[in-house]
């Protein structure tokens, strides 16, 4: 195994006391210590210690789940930055959106990144879902993680829908008017759900504030928790669904 100077430097760094205090162990040189390095890390322990080579190939997943997650991170970062210039109040919200487009440096870039990223995330999540479905990823032992995935798909849609009101323009107003009227068509509970969601009988200041809190706090937190469970369950359920025919055969041939 060729060891570059970077590897040597990294190995020296891993021997230091500071590294060991942060990561709880020195350099991982054996399979056992490599596994322990994953187990002992709060972020990495959601991930598998070992994966089949087949499940890393582009054709196995097209990295659609990873792509959805990266978009979620991108939307979190751009969203937090946008929050610094946005007041969820009437009519200030619309003026702030205009300021972000025409006054704030790089505001139009951030806003468009957030908007296009949101569209891309909906596309990526649906593509991911179809891909998993056609591979039979909903079958045992993956059936619970499929349900978690469906919840994540709904959360993605709710995030898109709640974000849609925030520019407080005509499109936003009528979209939310029509959308919440669809909710009130639901029997028995419909009108109460609409009243609670809007904080009133019409799309006004209360509705804007409630959608803002849902969009920026509640839904992202819930989504983050479900994402963690989703990742963790892939590992616990024994890795990705590989197609029975050529992928497993290919694996055997390689052996």
């Amino acid at each position: 195994m060729a060891t570059s100077s970077i590897d040597l430097a990294l190995n020296r760094l891993r021997e230091t006391r500071a590294w060991k205090s942060i990561f709880r162990r020195g350099p991982a040189r054996t399979n056992r210590t490599r596994s322990l390095a994953i187990f002992g890390n709060i972020f990495l322990h959601l991930m598998p210690v070992k994966v089949r080579e087949q499940s890393l190939r582009a054709r196995a997943t097209y990295y659609l789940g990873s792509f959805s997650f990266l978009l979620f991170l991108l939307l979190t970062v751009t969203g937090i930055l946008l929050m610094l210039y946005y007041h969820p109040a009437v009519p200030q919200a619309y003026l702030d959106m205009k300021d972000l487009r025409f006054v704030v440096s790089n505001g139009v870039f951030l806003r468009n990144l957030h908007r296009v990223g949101a569209h891309a995330m909906v596309i990526a999540v649906f593509w991911h879902m179809f891909h998993v479905f056609y591979r039979g990823g909903y079958r045992p032992p993956h059936e619970f993680n499929w349900v978690v995935g469906v919840v994540l798909m709904l959360l993605t849609l709710f995030l898109s829908y709640t974000g849609y009101l925030l520019p407080w323009d005509q499109l936003a107003f009528w979209a939310i008017t029509v959308g919440t009227n669809i909710i009130s068509a639901e029997p028995v509970l419909g009108h109460d759900v609409r009243f609670l969601l809007l904080g009133g009988n019409l799309v006004g200041e209360n509705a804007l504030l409630r959608f803002y809190v849902l969009h920026c706090v509640i839904l992202p937190l819930v989504a983050a928790m479900f994402i963690a469970v989703h990742f963790w369950r892939i590992q616990k359920d024994g890795g990705l669904t590989l197609r029975d025919d050529h992928e497993r055969e290919g694996h055997e041939r390689q052996d």
Partner: protein
């Protein structure tokens, strides 16, 4: 075996002190949780709404010629005057809540969102709207102005005669 021993054995087999206290604690937590849900629900339902008044004055009846439809933009209500009298017809589409428009050329109320059509008295002509436009209560104030209450819907045949 004495009577008291038998009694103790029966009590022990039914429920232990620990189980009883666990059940009481779980019950108390359940009641508290239910109460918290009710309190949260009530917190989330606003008591005071800063929304426009649902009752409004629509001016003197003489402002409206016979056989006319007048759109009140602020209140989203049509004041319709026919031979029979006055109607206050909602301008909010019964489909998904868009604001309909009065088209005098076609003698029709049309919704721009999904193409529902209504007659000038609000009767549904064409969907996707499921129902006709509702009629609001319309009365006269003591000083002779029209008064519309949007919280109160009335039968379409009830006209206000002036």
């Amino acid at each position: 075996m004495s009577d008291s021993d038998a009694a103790t054995a029966v009590v022990r087999s039914e429920i232990s002190r620990r189980d009883f206290l666990n059940d009481v604690a779980a019950g108390a937590l359940g009641i508290a949780g239910l109460g918290a849900m009710v309190v949260t629900y009530r917190f989330l339902s606003p008591n005071a709404l800063f929304e426009p008044s649902t009752t409004f004055r629509a001016g003197n009846p003489d402002l409206y010629p016979v056989n006319s439809v007048t759109f009140n933009q602020d209140q989203q209500v049509y004041i319709v005057r026919t031979q029979e009298g006055f109607y206050a017809v909602s301008a909010v589409c019964t489909h998904l809540g868009c604001i309909t428009q009065w088209k005098p050329d076609a003698n029709m109320i049309a919704c721009p969102c999904h193409g529902s059509k209504f007659k000038s008295d609000g009767t549904k002509v064409e969907g996707p709207a499921p129902r006709s436009l509702p009629h609001f209560s319309i009365t006269l104030t003591p000083d002779g102005e029209l008064l519309v209450n949007k919280m109160e819907t009335i039968k379409p045949e009830q006209a206000l005669k002036v």
